[in-house]
Symmetry: C2
Subunit: 427 residues, 2 copies
């Protein structure tokens, strides 16, 4: 390997699916790679709703970045917050003032909850996009349940939880919430009335899982309703307040927690500061090879980018782990091509299917061809696929153990309310 000084310097911003995938493509090459993230861990976002509903622990869905690339001498990690990109000076500017110079830059900065201008949503609804979001939501949900047990008169018999958004995250969260409530009553003997404890799932569309084939949405709707979720379709949220949700029709739903699963956006993130065009949700328009217009040395991948589908298909890649993984890998490979003096290739998205779980032994999986797989088989497919993609053998094993436990319904599970900010240690 040539001397470090001579090697092209690549900075990868973000250790999500896109950033890790890009970095993997560059591992073991004669390239000096620095991964930057404000967190020292990668988050397996598809399972955050399990952390929020006390099914999994934070460490089950997170993995230290340094542990991932610990044996790759050409890859370094810098834990720090990025304040901006100096595109002309080719440097990433950190919050502490340090500058990371680059020859090639891969931006995989992700997205954040998108509130689409709904009044009060930012202040009162609870997003589910980071590990911190998941922990805070869990602490809140468990605290509400404890309060409902201690002072039932304040809760009219039981609390109400509203989930806004009938996509995979909303469907999965509503299903898992119903399970949490069921365990709380049955196992933990919380004195709340199941008939008065409500989970309401709202969506503006007339069906759930609109990105799936219709029968997947129908199955999700029927299963959630059978499990007690109050699914309300064709409902537009006008505002979120401290005490609940106001619908566009004028009705209000009093709620003790509002989970925001209605979508994501790029506003307010680092990618929003980039020059150039924007697509829906603020996603950064990119060239066919995923580079930024006018900056062939800069790539934007994952949720932050509006990557073209390629293969002469119209449209952009979905904001899913697969889009980020494939985009990141492509960007990494284009860096290698450019270093080798080769022209870059256009990106093309390969649809590997989508899936969502509704709870124990119930999920829908939809591959590119073939029928929608649902029920226990769908659940097993979902479980297997997620385990395969979870980083690290230890995480996989611990998550599998946790799920096995839950499946056989042992009275365990990490239902801990552990907050950084709280009263003193005395009981």
């Amino acid at each position: 390997m040539p001397d470090e000084q001579e090697m092209p310097r690549v900075v990868v911003v973000g250790a999500g699916f896109g950033g890790l995938s890009a970095t993997r493509a560059l591992a073991g090459r004669a390239i000096d790679v620095t991964v930057v993230d404000q967190h020292n861990f990668h988050t397996f976002e598809p399972l955050l709703y399990q952390v929020a509903t006390a099914g999994l622990e934070p460490a089950d869905v997170a993995y230290p970045v340094r542990a991932i690339f610990g044996r790759e001498p050409n890859i370094s990690f810098r834990c720090g917050r990025v304040d901006g990109i100096d595109l002309d000076g080719r440097a990433v500017v950190l919050a502490d003032g340090d500058r990371l110079a680059y020859d090639h830059l891969i931006l995989a900065t992700g997205a954040t909850a998108g509130y689409f201008g709904v009044a009060g949503a930012h202040e009162h609804a609870r997003p589910l996009y980071t590990l911190r979001d998941a922990r805070l939501l869990r602490n809140h949900l468990l605290t509400v349940l404890e309060e409902a047990d201690a002072r039932p008169e304040r809760f009219d018999g039981g609390p109400t939880f509203v989930v806004v958004g009938g996509g995979p995250t909303g469907v999965e969260t509503a299903g898992a919430l119903m399970e949490l409530i069921s365990v709380s009553i049955r196992r933990d003997r919380l004195r709340i009335d199941p008939a008065r404890t409500r989970v309401v799932l709202l969506d503006t569309a007339d069906s759930l899982l609109t990105t799936f084939k219709p029968r997947a949405g129908e199955y999700a709707q029927a299963t959630l309703r059978a499990r007690g979720v109050d699914v309300r379709l064709g409902q537009k949220v006008a505002a979120v307040t401290e005490s609940g949700v106001q619908l566009a029709g004028g009705a209000t739903i009093p709620a003790h927690a509002v989970v925001w699963a209605a979508g994501i956006g790029v506003d307010g993130t680092l990618a929003a500061t980039l020059p150039g065009e924007r697509s829906r949700g603020g996603r950064v328009a990119v060239e066919d090879d995923l580079s930024l217009a006018g900056h062939p040395e800069v790539y934007v991948v994952g949720d932050a980018a509006a990557a073209p589908l390629g293969h002469e298909h119209e449209g952009v890649t979905p904001q899913l782990a697969q889009g980020a993984i494939q985009g990141g890998r492509h960007a990494g490979e284009q860096v290698l091509r450019r270093v080798a003096g080769l022209p870059t290739l256009p990106f093309a998205y390969r649809d590997k299917g989508i899936m969502a779980t509704i709870g124990r032994r119930a999920a829908v999986a939809q591959l590119k061809v073939g029928p929608v797989v649902r029920g226990t088989l769908g659940w097993l497919s979902w479980l297997g696929l997620h385990l395969v993609y979870l980083i690290g053998f230890r995480n996989r094993l611990v998550v599998l153990l946790n799920w096995t436990w839950r499946y056989f319904d042992w009275p365990s599970g990490p239902r801990l309310i552990v907050a950084d900010v709280e009263a003193e240690s005395e009981p």
Copy 2:
């Protein structure tokens, strides 16, 4: 079982070792028991130092109280903060204004870090007595290590960590810190100089582990020194500042973290509000049967109480899990005796031995009779005993898995910095 209204009401304050042990003694009896704790979980305190040094996850050393007594219909749990005890009115007053009336009260409110008037210790030293303490300490330690990697010039090559107190907690924390640093350099390739990264262990006494036989302390000292810990004995801490520790002799030790393992006290806890005499560290003086003088219906157990050793031995029970477990059980049994119209019996402490681990394959265990067990055998004894006492099969299994992983040195482990209060989600 008689009607709930007729059953004697027992309130147990605190879900630590003492409170759980008392509650267990009352399980299945014709007694209406309410356990109150501000947290919804029990903490296995002897392993908190492992959470602080990223060896274990919070959920590995904590267990939901409701899950422990989920199948005991005579036991309820109330998650809430206790504001005071109305001894005359026989009621526990909660912070939210609710009152829990009792016929018998068992107070197992524990202790908190004792700073013994050392200036700045409360503000700048980091205790290790609650799960929150452990999480905050871990986040701080890992953040310091990341900062030392990113900006070595600010750390003169490496950070310094000071542990104050050479008892079991201090010895275990210093040993585990050394392992964390070693993993960080070797596995995570943190660019810090091992020779300039220091763990300093301070104690006022002339040996470590003064409550053990001398050869245990000698072994701990030799092992810690061999592993690179700077053990400094006969050193009195005069003050803790933002930038380190000031010794009574005038010398200062600059430090990036000061862990306070110098002792515990009852000041500031609920037990401090009780009437009557106090013993060393503010512990509440109790009668031979562990009841409060003048209040035979109130028992104080565990770290908060100065329980007599009994068996005609002078002195008080040590502030260890065993003292709390035995005291709690005794108090529960005395409640049963009084309900049955029998006189109470005096408490007698049974010394089951003490142990401390220094790191992988190194620990000291000292039983009441026989020699001090040390080295690998001591470590295995320590590991086995702690696994046996860990609550819940799942916790035991997960902790055992974690330890097995660490033993074989796989590049895993929960080295996550997850804070509730932090910057936004963008990398």
